[in-house]
Symmetry: C2
Subunit: 616 residues, 2 copies
């Protein structure tokens, strides 16, 4: 061993001991010709080294520079000038001898929390970037979450069972990465988008409680913060209903909070139907750290089909804008409002800037109407000529505003308007400091629609995936009806439009961190599902024959969930970006710029695979 | 939840309780018209159910068959006829009501330890095969080993750090599986053969102690018991020498023995040089559960180059067969012997059978000579006319035989003969019951040659991999000499032929379960290694520029090891085959017969990847 102790280990109690340390030179400070201080860094901490006069000559001949790998032998001594900010701050090492184990040229950026390295440079020299303590903390947190999840699941009788990576391509939804088979020329394996069917087979096999922390692969066009390979905490249980899953995994996340963050999340996790989330927050993963719920000022009509199909049951908050003297409201399909607390004194400039904000192409609105609720009870709006004070006040009341608040109103096509209002709400939450990185609010979103309508093919698509069961009460609706849609214009009247999924998403601070469902376990129902998705019986048999077969030999009721491990870690680490929680991430073009991958391969490799490059 | 208890949980203490169980019907036994016994099975055990007269009608209408999924509610009662073989054998459930949760058609083979299913059938219906308790025990053992390894490594400050699966193809040795990149047409990712370079980069990044239980991929022609995807317990440490690694991982394996098998392996793990292993056992992974060491009766000469290059240092056991009156010995390059204890009375038939055994093409010897050492001190051999009793006794003595032993002698070309003798030794060990499944003997094999000679290219190849360091004393030999081999006929005189690797293999019962090395961490030495392997500086830079670059920024001394997780589990489970320790294995053609993968993919997928099928 090159060391007797680590650089984070020595304390006052070690004073007088002879020790050997090894690590990286963080800083070198000279005091005159006789004394040199070196901060030596390793994974565990930083220890100050003192090189005295007797080593001055040797040091001058072999000066250790930044990031050199240094081994020193010396005596632990009390520091005259203690550093209370680091655990080793009481001591220093009086160096007796040293060896430079390896040299370093000057790094392309500084190895510090606030590095001067840009994103590209950091990614190219990721091995240096990983030395920065900010990134190190992220990966330590990642490991702690991994370990906590495993321990919790182990204690609850779950088994880690490995599923294969070289499987069969059955593209549903996202695109598969494929792997040409040399031994079976012209044939391909696929990399798993998730171990979904395997974990279900394990339930059929009686393994009862399965988990895996597992890499998954999706060949999608990468948005910011998506990776072609990502990690899931993947779980499945037999003989359970939705309630059992919610309780178990609520428990897991709380255990992670406690173990990793020291947070005792004792309150029950809130639950919300998908419908309510859409009505109140404009999206299916609401950030409930703050209120500012959306007021629906008009009955939604045509554009947001799933919501509309459910809207029958939900009383619309207000109908008084069904007809409005203000043509923008009057002609709009949807009019939505939020009351922003305490912003009633926003200036013209602030309002103009926010108007520009909603008009950006990413948001896509034509304008932003507002009502300022003054302290004296009067209102001031951007559409004063159409409403008197009474009328404005009525709208503001409907939006839940009180004195001093600012009401924002967006009007337009329903889907876009709802999305825009959701974004505006989040933006205002951020600006007002209501989305605290250190506050964590969990939420279960439930009762999703099972199907979405695909206009281009005039058929149903699975909102979650084809293995999700309908709610028990909807099974008969599904079995008993023909999935075919006779009149595309009236698809909403098809019984399938109202079927609810036995599915659940876990939302943390406005991010979906996990999702799952109770699965179909009956061959007949699974076949019906495949048929609803437009698969012929032959196609279903070809793609999923193994699963349909398995359902004939005593498949138990089962369900599960998968957590997005990268995202969960990022949120727990107080970051919006998953990149810095992955040791070797890829960029937005799916490239590893450090490795320079992907790259070309030899002709010999192509020949062995019986493949040729280029379009047909 | 569909159950209040599992099928392995109820005991006498539960008598009188009302419980709900769910599981699979293992057997149905009827007693007259009024009583039916059902054994209900789940992952945790088997519980006997008793259906009385009051349920007879209902049962007749809905008879639960084998492998049906059944839910029952009933009262725990004492069994009149206790079963001491199962933990639940004291009780049974007096069923009050039942629900058939799912039906099963008749399985294609019986779900029992000794199944009637052939290999193909079991693989096609793997989800049923996995229900067999033999396979379940294997996977439980696998999980226990996984968990024990993780716990040990965690306690020793190792961190699980995930490395990427979509990397760059740098074929060295085995063939890469490649993954075409849609976003970078004409370019490919490769799946990792191991995370080797990444774990080394993590050491450069200062992560110090890394581990991962990770899938690796090799596109090799599959021998029996090889899988295209396999799992490693992959580890790396910084600031260590060989001794530190041996101690750490000896500790890990012992911890696994203790935790998983209840075996306290307290003795120090034996160590043996590669050379000694080859001399004494004829292979580099000796099974040391039994003796029967090989006696070398003649100086090896030409065929086994690595051994020959080292043979200079090793005194040959005997030279007295350099010249022999028996032409077979006299003309053979190598003559090897083993003394098989207590087999001196083998019959003609037994000896003939063993002679046929060594003549099989897999062994490839021309014949088998023997000496029987009789109790009266006389010898009887298959070459009596060339030696008198004294001469035979001298040979038998050299082989270490005593009265009652049988000496086997093989003669021929060195490499083949040594391999054949190694096989014969193992075969005799097996026949004599000396290779007990329940006995575990660990061994470190050390001091491998760093290079092998590749005749076709007249260059060196890395015996381990290109990142293995030479022994410290050989570094200068490597740096100071030109790797080029001027005269192929005299390659053995090249200084590189004698360089030893700083590498180690862990052997368990004659199987290599792990291997690793201290790594090169200096750019100059790594470049020299690439040059020795015939890579131009440009090629080295193109393939491994990221690693060479990383070595310039302060790379610490480091080393590591990887354990073959599948094999380790198989050996601990007392099996020679890894297949039954993998949930979803592939067959010898690399196919998953359950999924029917690999398979064809859509033209659309090929077009998106800009690939065409067929040879150029």
């Amino acid at each position: 061993m090159y060391r007797s102790h680590t650089c984070g280990e020595l304390r006052a109690a070690h004073i007088g001991k002879t020790v050997t340390l090894a690590g990286w030179v963080q800083t070198v400070r000279k005091f005159g010709s006789s004394m040199t201080f070196v901060d030596l860094r390793d994974r565990y901490g930083i220890t100050q080294l003192l090189f005295g006069e007797e080593l001055a000559k040797e040091l001058a001949e072999n000066p250790p520079g930044r990031e050199f790998v240094l081994q020193v032998k010396g005596i632990v001594a009390e520091r005259s000038n203690k550093n209370v900010h680091i655990p080793t701050g009481d001591i220093e090492i009086k160096v007796e001898s040293f060896t430079i184990l390896n040299k370093s040229i000057t790094p392309p950026f500084t190895i510090q929390d606030d590095t001067d390295g840009g994103d590209d440079l950091r990614m190219r020299y990721r091995y240096l970037d990983l030395r920065r303590s900010a990134i190190k903390k992220n990966l330590e947190l990642r490991y702690a979450v991994n370990r906590a999840a495993r321990n919790f699941l182990h204690e609850n009788n779950f088994m880690d069972l490995e599923t294969p990576f070289l499987i069969k391509s059955t593209p549903e939804g996202a695109r598969d990465f494929v792997v040409p088979s040399r031994m079976n020329p012209g044939q391909f394996y696929a990399l798993p988008q998730s171990p979904q069917t395997f974990k279900q087979l394990l339930m059929v096999s009686g393994y009862d409680r399965y988990y895996q922390v597992v890499k998954c692969f999706r060949d999608e066009d990468l948005r910011a913060d998506r990776q072609p390979e990502f990690t899931q905490i993947d779980c499945e249980m037999s003989f359970v209903e939705q309630e059992d899953i919610l309780e178990m995994f609520e428990g897991m996340i709380k255990y992670i909070f406690k173990t990793v963050k020291g947070i005792h999340y004792t309150e029950k996790v809130e639950r919300m139907s998908w419908e309510q989330a859409m009505w109140d927050y404009g999206n299916d993963k609401p950030d409930i750290r703050f209120g500012m719920k959306i007021a629906n000022l008009k009955t939604p009509s045509s554009v947001y089909p799933e919501l509309r199909s459910q809207s029958l049951k939900k009383p619309v908050v207000s109908k008084f804008l069904e007809v409005s003297p203000f043509p923008v409201f009057d002609q709009a399909e949807t009019v939505l409002a939020i009351a922003v607390p305490g912003c009633g004194e926003y200036t013209r400039k602030q309002l103009d800037e926010l108007t520009e904000w909603v008009k950006r192409p990413q948001i896509g609105m034509k304008g932003l109407a507002y009502i300022k609720c003054n302290a004296d009870g009067t209102c001031k709006s951007s559409f004063d000529k159409f409403y008197d004070n009474e009328g404005l006040k009525e709208i503001a009341d409907h939006a839940g505003a009180v004195s001093g608040d600012l009401v924002f109103i967006l009007a337009g096509y329903e889907e876009r308007t709802r999305k825009a209002m959701s974004e505006l709400r989040l933006e205002m939450g951020k600006r007002l400091g209501l989305r605290k990185e250190t506050e964590f609010r969990l939420l279960w979103v439930l009762d999703f629609p099972l199907f979405e309508y695909a206009e281009e093919d005039n058929r149903w698509v699975a909102r979650h995936h084809p293995f999700t069961s309908p709610k028990p009460s909807d099974i008969e609706v599904m079995i008993g009806n023909d999935p075919a849609i006779e009149d595309p214009a009236r698809y909403l009247e098809h019984p399938y439009a109202r079927i609810k999924a036995n599915a659940y998403d876990m939302v943390l601070n406005g991010n979906e961190i996990g999702g799952g469902s109770i699965r179909i376990y009956q061959r007949e129902l699974q076949e019906k599902m495949f048929a609803a998705l437009g698969m012929s019986p032959e196609e279903a048999q070809h793609k999923f024959g193994f699963l349909l077969g398995a359902f004939e030999y005593g498949a138990p009721p089962h369900g599960g969930i998968a957590f997005g491990f990268d995202r969960l870690c990022a949120i727990l680490g107080g970051s919006e970006s998953i990149r810095d929680f992955i040791a070797f991430p890829k960029n937005n073009s799916g490239r590893d710029v450090m490795l320079d991958a992907p790259g070309t391969i030899d002709d010999k490799q192509l020949q062995e695979l019986e493949l040729r490059l280029g379009l047909q």
